[in-house]
Symmetry: C2
Subunit: 408 residues, 2 copies
């Protein structure tokens, strides 16, 4: 059970220094939703004119707060906005009571922060199926509103954690038209991670100026290559939410700027990788790249089949260059493949080529790659131009320990 409380061996050395985003302020509180002795609610407020976009789980049993966010996020208004997140209880599968809790919280936040209720976005993460004690959250709103500060993002990252072993943050700055645009984001998530999307909550803030439509289009596109390209255990949460807010405070229009898109991509990918690095029981960070598939979609299908295969993931845990299991995963994925054109590399080591063990194959070299912390599996399907990269972790005794004892 040591894995449960210890910080993941794949964690970054420390929480990064993130740029302050003008127009965003944060506060956290300990409401005792479920956890004791730690913060479990975070409030972020967004200045008037902020643009808010997002992406959410496609689970058919998604939670009440997700449904509420999805309904609101398609509309833009120039009014100020607020984001409220609690950990400890996901308010998922809580029937009509769940909807009432969202109504109660968003109404109270609107009143306390003086923003329209239609501009209050909430997320809840934690246990499924227990009524959310929303009164506890509402009772700390006044103190949250009084504590709001520009540099509170690190504390916010702490407050949204559940089974995470470390808080997750990423940020960058980018020069656009000679001016600096800043991006800073936080995330939580460690288990139940798979498209779409994860037990994963992600909040990213920028002072860029961008239209609502352009931001939504950009976020959707980048989401497919980042948060929808990671998997820990193939299980999909009922609560996954990604919210990206642009305050416009920099005065720099980035609507058609590729540099900004690249910077946002980097921040999203960094956060997505950190979620995998906190995968329950993870000891290896695994990148799976598939090329030569019939289409990009087929490539992602193959890559996810490899990344989700329990046999591939246990072989990685055992530091075994078992490429037969990669062949198996490609075969079962459902996407097009030709056994006799398939090539596989572990790191730089060619292990299989044209449907058979490579003539250059060295079990010793392949085994040496598997002993590292970062594992790279490259598969060329050999029939087209489609490609995709996804990330996952290994499947270990730690995952079993954490998930066979999580609730009881």
């Amino acid at each position: 059970m040591a894995n449960i409380t210890a910080v993941s061996p794949l964690a970054p050395a420390s929480f990064p220094a993130l740029p302050a985003i003008e127009g965003v302020r944060f506060a956290t509180a300990a409401a005792g939703v479920k956890y004791q002795g730690r913060t479990d609610v975070m409030l972020a407020t967004l200045s008037p004119g902020s643009v808010v976009a997002g992406a959410f789980t496609r689970s058919a049993t998604r939670s009440a707060p997700v449904l509420d966010c999805q309904a609101k996020i398609t509309q833009h208004s120039d009014a100020p906005a607020a984001i409220l997140v609690n950990s400890g209880n996901s308010n998922a599968f809580t029937g009509k009571g769940g909807t009432a809790s969202v109504e109660a919280i968003t109404s109270a936040v609107a009143q306390t922060c003086d923003v329209p209720q239609s501009r209050v976005f909430t997320s809840s993460t934690g246990v499924i199926g227990e009524p959310l004690p929303h009164d506890r959250i509402i009772s700390v709103l006044d103190s949250l509103a009084a504590d709001l500060q520009l540099d509170g993002i690190a504390a916010a990252a702490d407050a949204i954690m559940t089974t995470d072993t470390f808080p997750k943050g990423a940020g960058t700055t980018v020069q656009v038209d000679g001016k600096t645009v800043s991006i800073a984001g936080i995330a939580k998530g460690s288990g139940m991670i798979a498209p779409d999307m994860a037990t994963m909550l992600v909040y990213i803030f920028t002072d860029a100026q961008i239209s609502h439509g352009a931001l939504q289009t950009l976020v959707s596109r980048l989401n497919d290559k980042t948060f929808n390209a990671i998997t820990v255990d193939s299980d999909t949460s009922t609560s996954d939410s990604l919210i990206v807010a642009a305050t416009g405070a920099s005065g720099v229009d980035v609507s058609a700027d590729e540099g900004f898109a690249t910077a946002l991509h980097e921040v999203m990918q960094d956060l997505a990788h950190q979620v995998v690095r906190d995968g329950e029981g993870a000891t290896k960070f695994v990148e799976v790249t598939v090329t030569g598939a019939a289409t990009d979609s087929d490539a992602k299908c193959h890559a996810m089949a490899i990344a989700n295969s329990p046999l591939v993931k246990t072989a990685i845990a055992g530091e075994d260059p078992n490429w037969g299991r990669v062949v198996m995963a490609v075969g079962k994925s459902g996407a097009a493949a030709d056994r006799d054109r398939l090539s596989i590399r572990f790191g730089d080591v060619e292990v299989a080529k044209d449907g058979w063990r490579s003539v250059h194959y060295s079990e010793e070299d392949a085994a040496a790659h598997m002993k590292g912390e970062n594992i790279l599996i490259s598969v060329d399907i050999g029939i087209g131009e489609g490609q995709s990269t996804v990330w996952t972790c290994d499947l270990t005794h730690g995952y079993i320990s954490i998930n066979a004892d999580y609730r009881s």
Copy 2:
């Protein structure tokens, strides 16, 4: 590591007494394909007029012997036939050499047993990607042919085992038009088990008289409810093969007999359940029944999402009635669901109804059910008439131990 060599706690008490099938004879030998000190090849011969049907993996990387069987099994001839199976090496992902091995073996069996090569069906199971030393198999054919006997099926079940912890057999007799028809089958498989189909080899024999077309139709239909309704780890083998042979020796035409169909269904289901009971690391046998889905296909999609979910399977290992994870699995399956009509039972205990925790829910009663060896999860989607039942096992430390050290 104790789980690797110990017999599964879910194994039947003993190998069953199986009826002899007139027209079928068996022999086994120790060819040293990979294993030492045990039999690893089995030969079965079928009398002239025998009808052979089957079902095979749909993996895009399926093995050379599977491709050979699939090509042959669509044709019928009144000539005698033979089935040859080796364990230790799957002859999968072995390029042109794999095809040559199948050609060499089927040619040699045809000559030794005096049957057309087009009526020689072979299977190979074991490690992927290693050249099959087919000379070792061919060198024991003469002694196999000399040892053929009517009551050799139990020894055959032993010879085809790989990581299995017990040999698998099932049989029955059924009265048709006042005469007795017998069915006897064997199977192997314990990991890499998922539709379609498994690292699973199944051979079933009957003295029934039936047309080639009628037998194939029946086998395909029953396969969907048995071998394609089990999963251990969601991984699909490159070698799965089910072969059903009817010698006709009873002289009883069963082409339109429902009693025979039911009896064959029972034998197939029994063998499928034994494969799950030998699931790597399994400590619980789990039946998942979904009702009220939009279609039968949707019901199977939901049932498989539940049965394959690592979070559901680890909760079962932990004897935790964690119905939130069942909700999650239904939500991610991709099939239609309405959160507010969903009901869930663990055994007889209603845990959730109409989208929320049941008012009758007793955690104590639910936990008591989870402590048993046989776990029943029933989910009613509440939107239609579609239903499906699938079987799986829990996900334990034993699975990790076995699969992180299998090859090295």
